[in-house]
Symmetry: C2
Subunit: 126 residues, 2 copies
Amino acid sequence: MSKYENIDFTHYARVFKAISNPNRLKILVYFMSCCEPGSVCTVGDGPRCCVGELGSLLSVAPSTLSHHLKELHGAGLINMQRRGQQIECWLATDAIAAVREFFSFAADPVCGQADNSHCGGKDEAE
Amino acid sequence: MSKYENIDFTHYARVFKAISNPNRLKILVYFMSCCEPGSVCTVGDGPRCCVGELGSLLSVAPSTLSHHLKELHGAGLINMQRRGQQIECWLATDAIAAVREFFSFAADPVCGQADNSHCGGKDEAE
DNA sequence: TTCATATTTCGACATATTTCGAATTATAGG
DNA sequence: CCTATAATTCGAAATATGTCGAAATATGAA
Protein backbone atom coordinates (compact mmCIF):
# COMPACT_ATOMS: atom_id res chain seq x y z
CA MET A 1 0.00 0.00 0.00
CA SER A 2 1.53 3.26 -1.10
CA LYS A 3 1.78 6.23 1.21
CA TYR A 4 -0.22 8.13 -1.40
CA GLU A 5 -3.11 5.68 -1.14
CA ASN A 6 -5.48 8.02 0.67
CA ILE A 7 -4.11 11.34 -0.41
CA ASP A 8 -6.41 14.37 -0.58
CA PHE A 9 -5.78 15.60 -4.10
CA THR A 10 -8.07 18.58 -3.69
CA HIS A 11 -6.17 19.79 -0.65
CA TYR A 12 -2.70 19.40 -2.12
CA ALA A 13 -3.77 20.87 -5.44
CA ARG A 14 -4.95 23.92 -3.53
CA VAL A 15 -1.68 24.16 -1.63
CA PHE A 16 0.35 23.97 -4.81
CA LYS A 17 -1.94 26.44 -6.56
CA ALA A 18 -1.33 28.84 -3.70
CA ILE A 19 2.39 28.85 -4.45
CA SER A 20 2.07 28.55 -8.22
CA ASN A 21 1.99 32.33 -8.48
CA PRO A 22 5.40 34.05 -8.37
CA ASN A 23 4.17 36.76 -6.02
CA ARG A 24 2.72 34.30 -3.55
CA LEU A 25 5.79 32.12 -3.82
CA LYS A 26 7.89 35.15 -2.91
CA ILE A 27 5.82 35.67 0.20
CA LEU A 28 6.23 32.05 1.22
CA VAL A 29 9.96 32.07 0.61
CA TYR A 30 10.23 35.30 2.56
CA PHE A 31 8.78 33.51 5.56
CA MET A 32 10.76 30.35 5.01
CA SER A 33 14.06 32.21 4.77
CA CYS A 34 13.62 34.02 8.05
CA CYS A 35 16.71 32.41 9.48
CA GLU A 36 20.23 32.38 8.19
CA PRO A 37 21.44 28.80 8.23
CA GLY A 38 23.37 28.03 11.36
CA SER A 39 22.44 31.26 13.07
CA VAL A 40 19.77 32.06 15.60
CA CYS A 41 17.24 34.61 14.43
CA THR A 42 16.48 37.62 16.53
CA VAL A 43 13.15 37.05 18.18
CA GLY A 44 10.47 39.15 16.54
CA ASP A 45 12.60 39.80 13.50
CA GLY A 46 11.44 38.34 10.23
CA PRO A 47 8.98 35.52 10.65
CA ARG A 48 6.13 37.68 11.87
CA CYS A 49 5.22 40.76 9.94
CA CYS A 50 2.18 42.77 8.99
CA VAL A 51 0.56 42.93 5.58
CA GLY A 52 2.04 46.31 4.79
CA GLU A 53 5.58 45.05 5.27
CA LEU A 54 4.96 42.26 2.79
CA GLY A 55 3.78 44.87 0.32
CA SER A 56 7.29 46.24 -0.05
CA LEU A 57 8.30 42.77 -1.17
CA LEU A 58 5.93 42.63 -4.13
CA SER A 59 5.11 46.07 -5.48
CA VAL A 60 1.45 45.35 -6.15
CA ALA A 61 -1.65 47.22 -5.02
CA PRO A 62 -2.73 46.61 -1.42
CA SER A 63 -5.92 44.95 -2.65
CA THR A 64 -3.88 42.56 -4.74
CA LEU A 65 -1.62 41.73 -1.83
CA SER A 66 -4.64 41.12 0.33
CA HIS A 67 -6.00 38.72 -2.24
CA HIS A 68 -2.74 36.78 -2.37
CA LEU A 69 -2.54 36.51 1.41
CA LYS A 70 -6.08 35.21 1.45
CA GLU A 71 -5.04 32.47 -0.96
CA LEU A 72 -2.04 31.48 1.13
CA HIS A 73 -4.11 31.55 4.28
CA GLY A 74 -6.92 29.57 2.64
CA ALA A 75 -4.41 26.91 1.65
CA GLY A 76 -3.26 26.80 5.26
CA LEU A 77 0.25 27.96 4.50
CA ILE A 78 0.25 31.08 6.64
CA ASN A 79 -1.45 32.21 9.82
CA MET A 80 -3.03 35.62 10.21
CA GLN A 81 -4.07 37.47 13.32
CA ARG A 82 -5.09 41.05 13.96
CA ARG A 83 -2.87 42.99 16.29
CA GLY A 84 -4.22 46.49 16.68
CA GLN A 85 -4.48 48.25 13.38
CA GLN A 86 -2.32 45.72 11.65
CA ILE A 87 -2.71 42.09 10.76
CA GLU A 88 0.22 39.89 11.57
CA CYS A 89 1.22 37.04 9.30
CA TRP A 90 3.54 34.14 9.94
CA LEU A 91 4.35 30.77 8.46
CA ALA A 92 2.21 27.74 9.22
CA THR A 93 5.16 25.49 9.81
CA ASP A 94 3.02 22.38 10.18
CA ALA A 95 1.61 22.90 6.69
CA ILE A 96 5.11 23.22 5.29
CA ALA A 97 6.08 20.05 7.09
CA ALA A 98 3.13 18.27 5.47
CA VAL A 99 4.24 19.34 2.02
CA ARG A 100 7.78 18.27 2.75
CA GLU A 101 6.38 14.92 3.79
CA PHE A 102 4.42 14.73 0.55
CA PHE A 103 7.67 14.79 -1.43
CA SER A 104 9.57 12.52 0.89
CA PHE A 105 8.67 9.33 -0.95
CA ALA A 106 12.35 9.15 -1.72
CA ALA A 107 12.98 8.44 1.94
CA ASP A 108 11.46 5.06 1.27
CA PRO A 109 14.19 2.45 1.70
CA VAL A 110 13.57 1.04 -1.74
CA CYS A 111 12.03 3.77 -3.88
CA GLY A 112 14.18 6.43 -2.37
CA GLN A 113 17.42 5.56 -4.03
CA ALA A 114 19.07 8.17 -6.19
CA ASP A 115 18.44 6.04 -9.22
CA ASN A 116 15.09 4.33 -9.35
CA SER A 117 16.06 1.63 -11.80
CA HIS A 118 14.57 -0.97 -9.47
CA CYS A 119 11.24 0.58 -10.33
CA GLY A 120 11.74 -0.22 -13.97
CA GLY A 121 12.73 3.26 -14.96
CA LYS A 122 15.99 4.37 -16.42
CA ASP A 123 16.33 8.00 -15.43
CA GLU A 124 17.49 9.27 -18.77
CA ALA A 125 16.40 12.54 -20.32
CA GLU A 126 14.28 12.41 -23.40
CA MET B 1 22.71 34.09 3.83
CA SER B 2 19.50 32.14 3.38
CA LYS B 3 19.37 29.10 1.13
CA TYR B 4 16.59 30.90 -0.74
CA GLU B 5 18.86 33.81 -1.58
CA ASN B 6 19.22 33.02 -5.26
CA ILE B 7 16.08 31.07 -5.85
CA ASP B 8 14.50 31.00 -9.31
CA PHE B 9 10.94 32.04 -8.55
CA THR B 10 9.84 31.65 -12.14
CA HIS B 11 11.04 28.08 -12.27
CA TYR B 12 9.51 26.96 -9.00
CA ALA B 13 6.26 28.80 -9.70
CA ARG B 14 6.06 26.82 -12.93
CA VAL B 15 6.73 23.56 -11.14
CA PHE B 16 4.04 24.25 -8.56
CA LYS B 17 1.62 25.39 -11.23
CA ALA B 18 2.17 22.09 -12.98
CA ILE B 19 0.91 20.20 -9.95
CA SER B 20 -1.71 22.75 -8.92
CA ASN B 21 -4.25 20.97 -11.09
CA PRO B 22 -5.87 17.88 -9.54
CA ASN B 23 -5.55 15.86 -12.74
CA ARG B 24 -1.88 16.61 -13.13
CA LEU B 25 -1.28 16.00 -9.44
CA LYS B 26 -2.88 12.59 -9.87
CA ILE B 27 -0.44 11.79 -12.64
CA LEU B 28 2.51 12.84 -10.53
CA VAL B 29 1.33 10.85 -7.52
CA TYR B 30 0.74 7.88 -9.76
CA PHE B 31 4.40 7.95 -10.69
CA MET B 32 5.58 8.68 -7.17
CA SER B 33 3.62 5.80 -5.70
CA CYS B 34 5.05 3.23 -8.06
CA CYS B 35 6.56 1.32 -5.20
CA GLU B 36 4.94 -0.12 -2.15
CA PRO B 37 6.97 0.99 0.85
CA GLY B 38 9.51 -1.60 1.80
CA SER B 39 8.95 -3.70 -1.27
CA VAL B 40 10.82 -3.91 -4.53
CA CYS B 41 8.75 -3.01 -7.55
CA THR B 42 8.56 -5.36 -10.47
CA VAL B 43 10.77 -3.99 -13.16
CA GLY B 44 8.70 -2.42 -15.90
CA ASP B 45 5.61 -2.28 -13.74
CA GLY B 46 4.37 1.14 -12.78
CA PRO B 47 7.00 3.80 -13.13
CA ARG B 48 7.09 3.76 -16.91
CA CYS B 49 3.88 3.83 -18.83
CA CYS B 50 2.48 5.19 -22.03
CA VAL B 51 0.11 8.11 -22.40
CA GLY B 52 -2.88 5.88 -23.01
CA GLU B 53 -2.40 4.07 -19.72
CA LEU B 54 -2.42 7.36 -17.84
CA GLY B 55 -5.69 8.16 -19.56
CA SER B 56 -7.50 5.49 -17.56
CA LEU B 57 -6.39 7.36 -14.48
CA LEU B 58 -8.11 10.62 -15.37
CA SER B 59 -11.13 10.15 -17.61
CA VAL B 60 -10.48 13.15 -19.78
CA ALA B 61 -10.19 13.40 -23.56
CA PRO B 62 -6.87 12.28 -25.05
CA SER B 63 -6.18 15.82 -26.18
CA THR B 64 -6.65 17.07 -22.63
CA LEU B 65 -4.35 14.42 -21.26
CA SER B 66 -1.76 15.35 -23.82
CA HIS B 67 -2.00 18.96 -22.73
CA HIS B 68 -1.48 18.04 -19.08
CA LEU B 69 1.51 15.85 -19.84
CA LYS B 70 3.02 18.70 -21.81
CA GLU B 71 2.70 20.89 -18.72
CA LEU B 72 4.34 18.34 -16.47
CA HIS B 73 7.08 17.76 -18.98
CA GLY B 74 7.59 21.49 -19.49
CA ALA B 75 8.03 21.89 -15.76
CA GLY B 76 10.62 19.14 -15.85
CA LEU B 77 8.67 16.79 -13.63
CA ILE B 78 8.35 13.92 -16.07
CA ASN B 79 10.37 12.53 -18.93
CA MET B 80 8.84 11.48 -22.22
CA GLN B 81 10.25 9.34 -24.98
CA ARG B 82 8.71 7.72 -28.00
CA ARG B 83 8.83 3.94 -28.11
CA GLY B 84 7.21 2.72 -31.27
CA GLN B 85 3.64 3.89 -31.53
CA GLN B 86 3.51 4.89 -27.93
CA ILE B 87 5.19 7.56 -25.89
CA GLU B 88 6.61 6.43 -22.61
CA CYS B 89 6.48 8.64 -19.54
CA TRP B 90 8.34 8.35 -16.29
CA LEU B 91 9.15 10.46 -13.29
CA ALA B 92 12.02 12.95 -13.38
CA THR B 93 13.33 11.93 -9.99
CA ASP B 94 15.94 14.67 -9.93
CA ALA B 95 13.23 17.32 -10.29
CA ILE B 96 11.31 15.80 -7.41
CA ALA B 97 14.47 15.80 -5.35
CA ALA B 98 14.90 19.50 -6.08
CA VAL B 99 11.37 20.26 -4.89
CA ARG B 100 11.93 18.21 -1.77
CA GLU B 101 15.08 20.22 -1.17
CA PHE B 102 13.08 23.41 -1.61
CA PHE B 103 10.93 22.52 1.37
CA SER B 104 13.73 21.15 3.49
CA PHE B 105 14.51 24.47 5.17
CA ALA B 106 13.46 22.68 8.34
CA ALA B 107 16.60 20.59 8.09
CA ASP B 108 18.46 23.72 9.09
CA PRO B 109 19.95 23.16 12.54
CA VAL B 110 18.26 26.25 13.92
CA CYS B 111 15.24 26.96 11.78
CA GLY B 112 14.40 23.33 11.43
CA GLN B 113 13.09 22.74 14.88
CA ALA B 114 9.52 21.57 15.25
CA ASP B 115 8.62 24.84 16.92
CA ASN B 116 10.12 27.92 15.38
CA SER B 117 9.72 30.14 18.41
CA HIS B 118 13.35 31.14 18.12
CA CYS B 119 12.30 32.90 14.95
CA GLY B 120 9.89 35.06 16.85
CA GLY B 121 6.84 33.14 15.79
CA LYS B 122 4.43 31.36 18.07
CA ASP B 123 2.85 28.71 15.90
CA GLU B 124 -0.68 29.27 17.03
CA ALA B 125 -3.70 29.19 14.75
CA GLU B 126 -5.55 32.41 14.12
C1' DT C 1 0.39 1.66 -50.06
C1' DT C 2 -3.34 1.45 -47.10
C1' DC C 3 -5.26 0.96 -42.69
C1' DA C 4 -5.29 1.00 -37.64
C1' DT C 5 -3.51 2.74 -33.35
C1' DA C 6 -1.33 6.30 -30.40
C1' DT C 7 -0.69 10.85 -29.59
C1' DT C 8 -0.45 15.80 -30.63
C1' DT C 9 -1.94 20.19 -32.52
C1' DC C 10 -5.45 23.48 -33.43
C1' DG C 11 -9.50 26.27 -32.68
C1' DA C 12 -13.16 27.24 -29.77
C1' DC C 13 -15.51 28.08 -25.55
C1' DA C 14 -16.52 28.44 -20.58
C1' DT C 15 -14.43 29.34 -16.43
C1' DA C 16 -10.70 30.96 -13.39
C1' DT C 17 -6.97 34.07 -12.24
C1' DT C 18 -4.51 38.40 -11.67
C1' DT C 19 -4.71 42.88 -11.17
C1' DC C 20 -6.45 47.45 -10.29
C1' DG C 21 -9.08 51.45 -8.17
C1' DA C 22 -12.94 52.85 -5.37
C1' DA C 23 -15.52 52.10 -1.50
C1' DT C 24 -15.84 49.87 3.03
C1' DT C 25 -14.49 48.07 7.60
C1' DA C 26 -11.49 47.97 11.78
C1' DT C 27 -8.66 50.08 15.01
C1' DA C 28 -6.01 53.84 17.42
C1' DG C 29 -5.59 58.47 18.91
C1' DG C 30 -6.79 63.18 19.60
C1' DC D 1 -16.99 62.13 17.43
C1' DC D 2 -13.61 62.89 13.91
C1' DT D 3 -9.46 61.77 11.51
C1' DA D 4 -5.64 58.87 10.03
C1' DT D 5 -3.82 54.34 9.14
C1' DA D 6 -4.18 49.36 7.87
C1' DA D 7 -6.35 46.15 5.44
C1' DT D 8 -10.40 44.05 3.06
C1' DT D 9 -14.28 43.72 -0.07
C1' DC D 10 -16.29 44.79 -4.34
C1' DG D 11 -16.78 45.27 -9.21
C1' DA D 12 -14.41 45.30 -13.65
C1' DA D 13 -11.08 44.27 -17.25
C1' DA D 14 -7.30 41.60 -19.31
C1' DT D 15 -5.23 37.35 -19.49
C1' DA D 16 -4.67 32.38 -18.50
C1' DT D 17 -6.48 27.72 -17.89
C1' DG D 18 -9.10 23.38 -18.68
C1' DT D 19 -11.67 21.08 -21.65
C1' DC D 20 -13.44 19.23 -25.88
C1' DG D 21 -13.81 17.59 -30.83
C1' DA D 22 -11.82 17.61 -35.33
C1' DA D 23 -7.89 17.32 -37.96
C1' DA D 24 -3.02 16.23 -38.35
C1' DT D 25 1.21 13.47 -37.41
C1' DA D 26 3.92 9.24 -36.27
C1' DT D 27 4.49 4.52 -36.19
C1' DG D 28 3.59 -0.40 -37.17
C1' DA D 29 1.41 -3.97 -39.69
C1' DA D 30 -1.20 -6.12 -43.51
